[in-house]
Amino acid sequence: MENLIALLVAAPLLGAAVLLCGGRRLDAVGHWIGTVLAAVSFVIGVVLFADMLGKGAEEREMAQHLFSWVPVESFQADIAFQLDQLSMTFVLLITGVGSLIHVYSIGYMEHDERRRRFFGYLNLFLAAMLLLVLADNYLLLYVGWEGVGLASYLLIGFWQHKPSAATAAKKAFLVNRVGDMGLSIAIMLMFAWFGTFAFGPVLEATGETSEGKLTAIGLMLLLAACGKSAQVPLQSWLGDAMEGPTPVSALIHAATMVTAGVYLIVRSADIFNAAPDAQLVVTVVGAVTLLFGAIVGCAKDDIKKALAGSTMSQIGYMILAAGLGPIGYVFAIMHLVTHGFFKAGLFLGAGSVMHGMNDEVDMRRYGGLRKYMPITFVTFGLGYLAIIGFPGLSGFFSKDKIIEAAFAKGGTEGWILGSVALLGAAITAYYMTRVMLMTFFGEERWRHAPTPSPAEPSAEPAAETRGEYEVPHPHESPKSMTIPMIVLAFGSVFAGGFFSIGDRFMHWLEPVTGHDHGHAPVSAMTVTLATMVVLVIGAGIAYVQYGRRPVPALAPRGSLLTRAARRDLLQDDFNHVVLVRGGEHLTRSLVYVDHSLVDGVVNGTAASMGGLSGRLRKLQNGYARSYAVSMFGGAAVLIAVTLLMRAV
């Protein structure tokens, strides 16, 4: 059975190779090849899952060793896979949601002449992501880690002719590379201290190492996680990544790739468990990002960017939970799975709306769409209820548990983290209600031509303001798009409940991650009640602002915080001034230094040492060639003569 593990990766990898090298001949069938191979991977995943369920909880781990990859003395990296309950969860999520999004893309990308290539990239992504979660050592994980980064780069920049897309793609890759530095250093530390970087042996070694060293490794892993999962301070790329086609945003930038950081931390549980300081930093990063993303999500008028802020915030919840240690690991992963359903569903819904609205993304240009797109409305609505944590839906179970776990951490920390998580829940309810109301309810603002915008930097979609305005004809999307949305909506509604009955999910993951109940200072009931209260408050405020009053077609100037939030809380401005401008000045001056100083000094030293200064000046005068040839000739003759004299 374990020999099937490699096939999980091989199927989509084959698809990527065939689609990307196949050329135009495959244009007509490319999307089917891609979709079928994604589905094959899913089926293999289900077969392995069934096999795993048939075994006892402690015997479920499978391993497959393919071959020795980099063997240099004590440095031994293998191409080898490990499939345990944690990896299995990811495999099902990745291939399941992945297959659905392949199906969705058939319709969504129908009119794109480069559709074959799009599916090639999607398959490449699946292969890399599966490699990431199946690797049995950190170095192989790194291959998957950057592989998904590459796929993300290619897909964000899929519409390369748009400069904004190309820039966003490059930015995503670069910011991720900063995170990758963390992963590189973590692996180097493991090798230097433990002599290995395979999961099993590292786990054994943690017991014999000092806390300080584990803290160092933990922090480096966290840096990596921040890059991939768009956590503060490496979060700036995710908003821009929305330049990619919407199915990409759903699969990569919501459901799977961005959660890789959570996987990394949970996978490294043994390191973090023994390094409380590192855990504390993890929780702080999670808590800060949770609020950061939520605040940004409140201010965006672009539906995808609002959802991107939300993704950041929800992953903040997961990171927070992962930082809590055994109290939170299970819930981090559970929220990750339910979030995979509802956030992918929300993005596909947003894509469906854009599909029917001439690719308009500004929610101020939407309104009252529920009549025109009933399926999109209902599925999006269920996703909305799930994410805000409406009782009984998926998000309710998973998010509530995280808030509880945060309180259960105990002490002042527990109170602070719990309160932040609670506050986040209120803001989530606010911004999601805002999205819902602006899109599906209220006046049909798209019927009128947009009023020309006064110079407002964040009002991006002002491109069509010139020329004649074409009133869109909102319509429901084709079946290939709505069916995946319906399936995901099912998940959004039922997954949380299904997982929570009899603590199924906890028992499933416990053998890998361990579990601890912590010491909750307040009862679970109180937490649930408090969550309900803040939910109502958040949604209520949004209703008063956007439901009761008409939505202005142009964004009002807003408070200082709103304006900052529209600009991603000024982080981009900071980056631009410090890194981009600063970097440009640095490289420019270095080019000058290299040309005039280094070159000059080296030439000058050589000249003065050899007494050649006068002759070197002739370099510029055109005598250079003759000089060089004569010098070279002299040396050659000298050598030749000595040799011949002696040889004869």
Binding site: R177, A192, A606, L619, R625, F632, A635, I639
Partner: protein, 523 residues
């Protein structure tokens, strides 16, 4: 006496060079085919060397030894260890691609003007360089090595000065002046390095009484040849200086961007992927073996210079406006990694460095040759003159991207393995230097992706709108290189297997052992 395989591997391209040069002026195409066939036959011989070499056997194999200049103790001594075998294979592999990529680079520009049969000369010179590079990987006599090390400057000088890149912004005269400046600078830098080395070679003879690498190294190891500390250090510096110019190491690097910028793309590949490797190879073989104590003495300074090369080269690559100069500065950064790996004195560092030499050769060839195809289409080397090429020539853009991704060491492609080995190998001994060097991976992503974005994406510039995609000949050049990059990224074992034992020998030469992991050390 067995068949002199090593001599044959070098003699074939040398004879091929003469034959190619002798092809009549009118038969240009025949000369090209002849050169290509010779280079392919050399590749076959190199593969025979690879197969005949037994990684578990003696340190030097396939040895040949003949008296040459008896009075001086100069012998014609050849032999290869795993490092030499790997680099000979790389050289023999790249030359056919260089020839094929430069197929039209030396066609006479105006029909009728046949001054000195440029086509024949171009390809003959390439083969001549190949012969000398292979010989310098094989020579185990210090003097013999020195001769080839210096002699390869002559054909390289003419290749750079005589066959410039036709894509030039200025007038023809201006272009010729810049080309000549680049060629002379190349020659002068390397010549000064070589002369200093010559002094050291003679000094070594005075101290040791012969030129045989094996004999001297052995005598040094068993203590029969004692060198005064200062003598050893001076001799080391003499050798190292020459190699550091060739490699090139900061601050001796400034000849490289000029040379690579002005030369045609295939010649630029010849410089950085083949000729420069002799410098790093010689550090491993001569500096460490002959002067182990001095090598250790100089290590801190060399590591810092290598680190500066890594960061400085990458930063300058970011600031370049010329595609080929950008690749040149990227190479300087990569040579920093190689030298750092060599002097970290760990198995991972040195195996990684050797693997790096091979991988850098392949990846730079892929990137530079595609860049050359791009430049020949538009007639400009300036990044700003391009834009949106991806739309009109997707295959060209795709191969360019893969070459770029290899340059930034994307995991899954060959350079990742070697770069990571070098980083790990350095880190275990010098953690701070290892950590600073990892900044190089961020900067590499920056210069590569900025280059790709500015040339390939965005709106299609009118000047590139009619650009044809890769032709069959060009695809034949690029596809195998890319296949190799992927293959060696996933399965580098064939190379590490032959390199590892050689590295073990070098490690015992310098009497260094890998640092033990702390968990183990504590037990």
């Amino acid at each position: 006496m067995s068949f002199p395989l090593l001599t044959a591997t070098a003699a074939l391209p040398a004879l091929g060079a003469i034959a190619t040069a002798a092809v009549p002026a009118a038969r240009r195409t025949a000369a090209k085919w002849l050169a290509l066939l010779v280079s392919l036959a050399t590749l076959v011989l190199a593969l025979v060397v690879l197969v005949r070499f037994d990684p578990g056997g003696d340190r030097y194999q396939l040895t040949e030894s003949h008296a040459w200049i008896a009075d001086f103790g100069v012998r014609y001594e050849l032999g290869v260890d795993g490092i030499g075998v790997a680099l000979i294979a790389l050289t023999a592999l790249l030359i056919p691609f260089v020839i094929l990529a430069g197929w039209h680079d030396a066609d006479p520009q105006e029909t009728g003007s046949t001054r000195w049969r440029p086509t024949q000369g171009f390809f003959a010179l390439i083969l001549a360089v190949e012969a000398m590079v292979i010989l310098s990987f094989e020579a185990t006599d210090v003097f013999l090595f020195y001769i080839f090390f210096e002699a390869m400057l002559i054909p390289m000088y003419f290749l750079i000065g005589g066959f410039g890149d036709r894509a030039h912004a200025g007038t023809d005269e201006n272009a010729a002046a810049q080309r000549s400046y680049a060629a002379v600078k190349f020659l002068l830098y390397n010549l000064v390095g070589g002369l200093i080395m010559l002094a050291a070679v003679i000094g070594l003879y005075v101290v040791a009484g012969n030129f045989s690498l094996q004999e001297i190294a052995e005598a040094r190891a068993n203590g029969t040849l004692d060198m005064a500390t200062n003598t050893e250090r001076w001799l080391f510096l003499g050798f190292f200086f020459a190699f550091a110019v060739k490699a090139p190491l900061w601050p001796l690097h400034t000849w490289l961007p000029n040379a690579m910028g002005e030369a045609t793309a295939p010649v630029a590949v010849l410089i950085t992927a083949v000729v420069d490797k002799v410098g790093t190879f010689a550090m491993l073989r001569f500096c460490l073996q002959l002067f182990p104590e001095a090598s250790k003495w100089a290590t801190p300074v060399i590591l810092v210079l290598a680190l500066i090369s890594i960061v400085y080269g990458a930063l300058l690559a970011v600031g370049q406006r010329d595609i080929k100069r950008l690749v040149a500065y990227a190479s300087i950064s990569h040579f920093g990694f190689i030298i750092m790996g060599i002097f970290a004195m760990t198995s991972q560092g040195q195996s990684g460095a050797t693997l790096y030499m091979v991988n850098h050769g392949i990846s730079t060839a892929a990137l530079m040759l595609v860049a050359g195809f791009l430049i020949s289409r538009r007639g400009s080397r300036l990044i700003a003159d391009y834009g949106g090429v991806q739309k009109v020539a997707p295959v060209l853009a795709g191969t360019f991207l893969i070459g770029g991704l290899a340059t930034l060491s994307l995991p899954g492609l060959a350079p990742f393995v070697s770069e990571f080995l070098v980083l790990v190998g350095t880190f275990t001994r010098y953690p701070v230097i290892g950590i600073i060097a990892t900044f190089g991976i961020v900067l590499a992503a920056l210069y590569t992706l900025v280059l790709y974005q500015r040339t390939m994406t965005g709106p299609v510039k009118p000047e590139v709108s009619a650009m044809p995609d890769l032709r069959v000949r060009e695809l034949v050049v690029v596809a195998p290189l890319i296949a190799l990059l992927i293959f060696l990224g996933v399965f580098p074992k064939p190379v590490t297997e032959i390199v590892n034992p050689a590295v073990e020998h070098t490690m015992s030469d310098v009497q260094k052992q890998d640092p033990k992991p702390e968990v183990e050390a504590a037990k």
